[in-house]
Symmetry: D2
Subunit: 153 residues, 4 copies
């Protein structure tokens, strides 16, 4: 399977006064793509049912925290009512962590950002890392691909 | 035609630490519904082509400014990957202004907010109100219905 | 005492592509002014110690919810590193609710918005309205003044 | 001089439903620190007048764009009415670019994030990189220090 493509809607308020999606708002677009791919949800036809294995939200037993992020902005992103396409895959799976990799495509198909987030599954009560089960690993495996390569590191 | 229903995606970052969509973020959801219904856009199959007569964005000749808003929060809105439904209609059409009315429905169909925005079409250069043309009026007319009624005013 | 004036910092990301503070971001500025005036906080020299009687945040016994808001945008607000001045007062005190009124002044002193928020003190566990104590009423009383008058209602 | 410390106010809306400042909102705090240190502004007593040499905003001749960011979240950041302290310095100066480095300190002095942003000065009209003048270099020089070291790269 490898990479998934997730449509994510921009918002007019994501723009700043330069007329482009603000640098911080870009991370919010990535967050929405991550939730669409990984979080379980009730009563909804799952877009990518296989990988929806991480619980989330205030009431759940485990949380997913972002430990680290890296992003390159390759082209300014203008507002459109058409969604961006977020290509998302897993660059690495650890005991309780994932390296989630992304390429963001403008509505016309140009790569406007490349990014990676290290996320950690933690127990909501203790805050300690909570290892992935075998079933979770199996569900996540099809999304594994080479880590994103940054150009300007 | 009367009221339109527009699906709008919530975002995880719309929540605040009470675990519900923040009061200000609710206005951003309304903004997205308004743009979906009224703004023209190129190369896109329009959801409601009839009413897409207002130009928007930094490069356009006219802007649509929000002059006034009123909102009642009827129930807390929790996060879901399913969109809210924004019922949107026009409560009044003036020379260069619209009273846009809304009811926001949770993904399970409960009314969680009622609101109204007075928006004004202005010339982007001068900032002066720019009257609707006959063609614009005709396009907007099918969305006219009684203004939203607030309970706690 | 009557009205208080609270300085609130704008942020670059509050602007949208029209180059002005976005309509929804304006409510976030009001929220910060409200918190500065009303919320208790530990270990901090209180700007307006008298009125800091409402607890807030995820761990507290009572929450303050926004039930209703009304805002008029009188002039576009441009970005400045100087704060806006939010004049804040109480237009009405109910059993468990307040009508908080505001005038927002640009860094150069022009009124750019008038607004009012109905906020309700609720028990964090049950979600039910929690009446103000006599001590809270006494602390809030000096901020009472006539409700804000809207021009375009 | 080396590092500067800039106080930046959190906002209640920066929190997400986990009760901590959201990962994307942290970049907005960095943006505000960067603007406070580098952007020129009229009629204001400058906190750090020496380094205020970059123009910004929609009307200016040059813009500062963010080309790349890297951030490590070391501890969750809870809401406080007291500001975070952003330690900010320059890790590297190029022809038209800066590596801006940060450590974010909670109101009680704990390091909660480390980050770096590559920013580029561009001509607002052409979008091309605009080299720093000698005067700008001289003004920026006192803020140069070793680049931030990331632990988990």
């Amino acid at each position: 399977m490898g990479r998934m493509r997730v449509p994510v809607q921009m918002r007019w308020a994501d723009l700043d006064a330069y007329g482009h999606v603000n640098n911080a708002a870009m991370l919010t677009l990535l967050e929405e793509a991550r939730i669409a791919v990984f979080w379980t949800s009730q009563g909804e036809e799952s877009m990518v049912s296989g990988a929806k294995v991480l619980s989330g939200g205030p009431g759940s037993d485990t949380h997913t925290l972002v430990a680290r992020q890296e992003i390159e902005y390759l082209a300014p992103l203008s507002y459109s009512q058409d969604p961006v396409g977020v290509e998302l895959w897993i660059g690495q799976i650890g005991g309780a962590s994932l390296l989630v990799c992304y390429e963001v495509l403008t509505p016309t198909g140009e790569v406007c950002a490349r990014a990676a987030s290290s996320i950690v599954k933690v127990d909501a009560g203790t805050g300690r890392p909570a290892r992935f089960s075998d079933a979770e690993r199996e569900a996540l495996a099809p999304l594994v691909d080479d880590p994103v390569e940054f150009r300007r590191r």
